[in-house]
Amino acid sequence: MDTVALLLTLRLALVTTVILLLLAVPLAYWLAFTGSRAKVFVQAVCALPIVLPPTVLGFYLLVALGPRTAFGRALTHLLGHPLAFSFAGLVVGSVIYSLPFAVQPLAAGFAAVDRSMLDAATTLGSGRWDRMRRVVLPLSRGSLLTASVLSFAHTVGEFGVVLMIGGNLPGATRTLSIALYDQVQDFQYAQANRTALFLLAICLVALMLLYSLRPESRPRSGDLV
């Protein structure tokens, strides 16, 4: 078992999930409660990574954010190194790639909160952020769990984006799925089998955890796609 790759994969999934929740909660809140006409567009953009091939994403990260573009150069300056071939680059890729798996369950959960609860909180003097914190979030715990588990598992399985921009660096970008690929290419089928089973086990455990804690509902992806 390639423990370096395993730890890297888990670290990537964890960091991605945390960042994703921080981004997705306000975004999902806006989607759930806005009356703005931009909502349809934002929903579509958030759902895009589900249908977009990961290689497309990887391509854009490589080229559009590479040193040949002004934006890429600015980013390099900010980070101190180019986005590609770095853990930071993988995090950026993973956050975009797993975005819908965080936003959709959250938006669906927020929208499902009984409006009369929100009305009651409002008349009790609770403003928008207070309501979010004390009513919406506690009543959407299930959706938070779904969003976390799905984002985590989805990132563990990431391959296409990592292949495009990773550079296969042990400890930094050589995730378990890449290691598996290398093992197959190297005809190390026994090792590859072990790695594959391990990846399978992680995802299975994650989903079982989700189902056991939320027996009354399947992980919902909302009404999109």
């Binding site: 009369s116 009305d119 009651a120 909180a121 409002t122 609770s126 009513v135 009543l139």
Partner: protein, 282 residues
């Protein structure tokens, strides 16, 4: 039936009524959820400590309360509490439009749907609006409020364990805890049995009177309407039909009230109003 005008009964002798209205409402709003649409159009002032709005289902009573509380943004409205404007959709000269958001209006609203927060215990719910960190003082306060609604023993219980009537008590206590400047009650005792209803109503009105908090109650219960208020307004189809002391209104609306009594076989508990997206304004 003719519409009652605003000045129908200004300054009528009611017990302990101040001369300045504590509530002035002028409201026009169209609901578009039906094919036909529903039109709220009314204007009135409330002077009495206890005011009752009476009307059948669908007359727009709940929407009126929602508008006063700020949960409904009316097309055209002027709403004042104790002389302070909380809502004015018109700009006059250099004075801009005014709309104080619901969370800042200090309006206590007890809805038909108690909407008790399932993720907090009963006392957690009651404490929702309480600020300040003094735990023991809070506990004391919660206990006193639960006494008013005769629910002291329910403090540590979870909402999912409680009956409809118990939830309603908690909702009332929770609203009182927020120390509102006016109190709006939308059929708050519907799930309670008659003796509890009477006792709690008494406790509640006493509590409000002690603090000078005027109370506006909405009901479709004829008996309650004409015994529980110092002033009564009747509503029908989104309009105020009559306003005055219970005796006066009984006389003015006699024919209509008899019609309503005979048309409806038995007092039907009104459907729980869930959200403003209902087709009918309740």
């Amino acid at each position: 039936m003719s519409d009652a005008s605003i000045s129908a009964l200004a300054g009528s002798p009611t017990s302990g009524a101040p001369n300045t209205p504590w509530l002035t409402v002028h409201l026009e709003h169209r609901f578009h959820h039906n094919g036909a649409g529903f039109h709220l159009h009314l204007a009135f002032s409330a002077h009495a400590q206890r005011t009752v709005v009476f009307g059948p289902s669908g007359s727009g009573k709940s929407s009126l309360l929602r508008a006063i509380a700020g949960l409904l943004k009316p097309d055209v409205a002027t709403i004042e509490f104790h002389g302070t404007t909380v809502c004015n959709t018109r700009t006059i000269g250099s004075r801009p439009r005014i709309y104080i958001p619901a969370e800042k209006r200090r309006v206590g609203l007890v809805m038909q749907n108690p909407a008790v927060f399932p993720h907090l215990t009963a006392s957690g719910n009651v404490a929702f609006a309480l600020r300040g960190k003094d735990r023991s003082a809070q506990k004391e306060k919660i206990a006193r409020l639960l006494e008013i609604v005769e629910a002291e023993s329910l403090a540590a219980r979870w909402p999912r364990e409680l009956s409809g009537g118990q939830l309603q008590r908690i909702a009332i206590a929770r609203t009182l805890a927020a120390e509102p400047t006016i109190l709006l009650l939308d059929e708050p005792f519907a799930a309670l049995d008659a003796p509890s209803r009477q006792q709690i109503s008494q406790n509640l009105h006493q509590w409000a009177r002690e603090r000078g908090i005027p109370v506006l109650t909405v009901t479709h219960n004829l008996e309650e309407a004409f015994t529980a208020g110092d002033e009564v307004l009747t509503m029908e189809d989104g309009r105020v039909m009559a306003q005055g002391t219970p005796e006066k209104v009984l006389v003015m609306q006699r024919e209509r009230l008899l019609q309503m009594l005979h048309a409806v076989p038995a007092p039907v508990p009104e459907e729980t109003s869930l959200s403003p997206e209902n087709d009918r304004a309740v």
